[in-house]
């Protein structure tokens, strides 16, 4: 199993460890609820070094990436862009973040579980372009520091304030004898930063944060936080069989862009939508989980993509993929939980109001 540079520190903190995407990763330290609330009210730090990074270099870097992904990538070296890589059928190879380092040098950040598949896909697409793609995932560690108190404290951890950064922007900052990428981004719905750099730099920042009392957070709270903030997870709300239009990610699909892989298919999904990822709330206490079947009366019509009884929320909530005719707010559906069919109502997916520094 692969490990990150912070692996020994997780063990020393007595984290509950699991295998995730081939890595031995912390799922929680003090507890998922405690970590979730630390990020919502204070500060939490996540080891996200398992994420994949590809560097695209060459004269055609910008047109190459614009053909590869659904969102519009501008030659703006301060902007971070969320986008999807689709195949020709419009289904999702992965979702990713795009950092334009220079016009001929672009960083792609992909999901850990998809690194090998994504890299093969990206390399295959380079044929018609003057670019090279390098998988630099093993050379780069990453932490996410998230929560409302982070902005006042980040300077003590990374040596620079983030005051000049708004949500989804970044800069390269000096650290020790090198540099790191410092971005106002995250996967929690809260204000905060992510830092990418050499493993030894990230390791030092982790130690500073922990010694300041920033709460270490594992993959468990990472998932409850992203779900509550209505951020999709690959393999759940989007996948090789759920397209981004169904997932409600139109903001990241620029159909007025000249061309990109999957565009024609996405145009037709948008014109003629068949399914939709909706929010659900259960009308009795139980927990809807990924993969549970969703019924309209006696007919199985869909499935839960993610569901939780969230910390400090009394109503169990979920996202579910259902046919468009059953997607209207207020529609009554049932979730099969073990032997019971539990009544649920379609609602919006805004389980939490995001607190970004726009």
């Amino acid at each position: 199993m692969k490990t990150t540079v912070l692996h020994d520190k997780h063990l020393a903190l007595n984290a509950k460890m699991i295998e995730y995407a081939g890595f031995h990763m912390p799922v929680s330290y003090a507890g998922i609820t405690e970590e979730h609330l630390a990020v919502r009210t204070g500060m939490g730090i996540f080891d996200v070094s398992h994420m994949g990074e590809f560097m695209i270099e060459g004269k055609d870097a910008l047109p190459f990436v614009n053909n590869l992904v659904t969102n519009l990538i501008l030659p703006d070296t301060t902007k971070v862009t969320y986008a999807l890589m689709c195949d020709e059928s419009g289904f999702v190879v992965d979702d990713l973040l795009v950092y334009v380092i220079k016009e001929d040098k672009i960083l792609l950040v992909v999901n850990a579980g998809n690194i090998d598949k994504d890299f093969a896909w990206v390399v295959k697409q380079t044929e018609k372009y003057d670019v090279t793609a390098r998988n630099i995932s093993n050379d780069i560690a990453q932490i996410a520091i998230q929560g409302p108190l982070v902005k006042e404290n980040i300077e003590k951890i990374v040596g620079t304030t983030g005051d000049d950064l708004s949500f989804m922007t970044y800069k390269t900052i000096p650290f020790e004898d090198g540099h790191v990428i410092f971005s106002r981004t995250g996967y929690t719905g809260e204000d905060g930063f992510e830092v990418y750099g050499k493993p030894e730099f990230i390791s030092k920042m982790w130690d500073s944060a922990i010694s300041m009392g920033v709460i270490p957070c594992g993959l468990g709270s990472r998932d409850t936080l992203r779900f509550e903030a209505n951020l999709p997870l690959y393999g759940h709300e989007i996948s090789e069989s759920i397209n981004p239009v169904e997932a409600g990610l139109n903001f990241a699909i620029k159909l007025d862009k000249e061309n990109f892989i999957g565009k024609d298919a996405l145009v037709s999904y948008k014109e003629n939508p068949k399914r939709k990822v909706v929010g659900l709330e259960l009308l009795e206490r139980n927990i809807p989980r990924h993969g549970y079947a969703v019924y309209k009366d006696d007919q199985e019509i869909g499935m839960i993509t993610t569901g939780y009884l969230l910390p400090q929320v009394t109503t169990p909530v979920a996202c579910a993929l259902v046919p468009i005719e059953h997607a209207a707010i207020g529609t009554e559906l049932y979730v099969q939980i073990r032997q019971n069919k539990v009544l649920a109502k379609v609602r919006n997916r805004k389980f939490y109001t995001k607190k970004y520094n726009k």
Binding site: I32, T33, H36, I337, R338
Partner: protein, 125 residues
């Protein structure tokens, strides 16, 4: 991990307290610890009958749902509804938090369960 005298245990980490023809069933300290903070409990209905090894209900943390298997066959006489409103009791006091009271249909099944000494090694993991 706390394992107490006077109870019988199953390899799937349930405990049974026996009095005559009646038994109370809960989950062990090891089970609650492995699960983490319990946020939801599903209990059966009074009057339901189970065979040894059937899922009697479920305990769930934020992240995971685990079935609870009855180590004994019988009819459910009572369920501990207090746990539905305060599932954290399973973490705080696993041996005080029985889930169901059962009328045993086959007392000889108890011979296949484990005492404290026999169960302890199963908590090493």
């Amino acid at each position: 991990m706390n394992v107490i005298e006077g109870l019988l245990y199953s390899p799937s980490h349930e405990w049974v307290k026996v009095e005559g023809n009646f038994a109370w069933v809960g989950i062990s300290d090891h089970a609650q610890h492995a699960l983490g903070s319990v946020v939801f409990i599903e209990l059966p209905k009074v009057g339901q009958t189970f065979k040894k090894g059937d899922a009697l209900g479920a305990v769930e943390s934020v992240k995971a749902a685990s079935d609870v298997y009855t180590p004994v066959s019988g009819k459910v006489l009572e369920v501990n509804n207090a746990l539905e409103d305060a599932p954290e009791l399973l973490n705080d006091d696993p041996y005080g938090s029985w889930m169901i009271k059962v009328e045993l249909s086959d007392v000889s099944e108890l011979e296949g369960l484990l005492n404290k000494e026999a169960y302890l090694p199963l908590c090493e993991e």
